[in-house]
Amino acid sequence: MKAVYYRTIILASLICLACTTRVSEWVLLNALPDQYTLIYFHKNPVTETVKKQNKEVVDGMKTANIHFKTVARNDVSESWYGLYYEERLFIRFKTLPETKNIISSPLREKISSELMSGKLCVMVYLLTDNREKDDTGRKTLQKALGASPFGSIISVVELSRNSKEESIFASLLLNVEDDLKDIREPMLFGVFGRFKALEPLLGKGITEENINLMIDYLTSECSCLIKDDLPGTDILFNGNWDNPAPALLNTIIDSNPALGL
């Protein structure tokens, strides 16, 4: 009888704890990133050389949120690789070497280490390389973060959508929504959890009010409504998400409880 009593108390405490955890922290600790699929499309039988090359790729992707498969199709004239997310083709590669930086890149490494260090989120500012447009959004972002009590626990990184080194990362971000590639405006992605990117604020939508709403979303208490319908797209990354540092957000809220309401 006593055991049942203790179990009930522990369960109730866990439930209470889950409801007071903030969205950013809950997602980092609990939400596993969705899987990508790299598909090798071919018509003719796969040669031993290609099999070996594919195996090397697969071996290198084991810790990333991706799996590999081979598909034989009669309508394929030339073999190719397709990166899919939720049955949507994100990137098409003609050859295997093009997939070299598919699971990681210097900027993704940096963002991951920021998230693991307890930061609330990393705001990725995707530039158009049109200085006037980019400066407007940048100023708004700096102003909003400067005024926010959570500004010190938010990192900002900039990325050109034309970057060659980070072309795959830029492409993944531009696939968060299916029309983003055609929009030539600066975009602000909130990246949190295990590399989950929120649908971006873009162009004139990069306002102080909207940036504060993004921060409010990430700092709000994680309700069941949010858990059941998490927004955003998981970015492909070869990351180890075990044992993150305690969320810095809690320190701020503990010292000023009014901010947590």
């Binding site: 709403l213 993004m214 979303y217 797209t233």
Partner: protein, 73 residues
């Protein structure tokens, strides 16, 4: 992720992300419990219960006293 982005004519009329509209409308925040007025039947129930108890007590006592008198007679 919005795979089926609604079509729009200009960038200004592009739909806002769902997380943003939910945040604006307060859907994401934990909603306080709604307090609604319920019909209060407690007084009615109390009267009925009291009446029943009195009737049962009176009936029992009547029956008991009548039987006692009968036995004495």
């Amino acid at each position: 992720m919005q795979n089926d982005t609604i079509s729009y004519d200009t960038l200004d009329s592009r739909p806002l992300p769902k997380w943003l509209t939910d945040q604006k409308s307060g859907v994401n925040t934990i909603q306080p419990q709604k307090i609604t007025m319920k019909e209060d039947n407690s007084l009615k129930i109390s009267f009925i219960a009291t009446t029943i108890i009195i009737l049962v007590a009176v009936s029992f006592l009547t029956f008991y006293i009548l039987r006692k008198h009968k036995d004495q007679a």
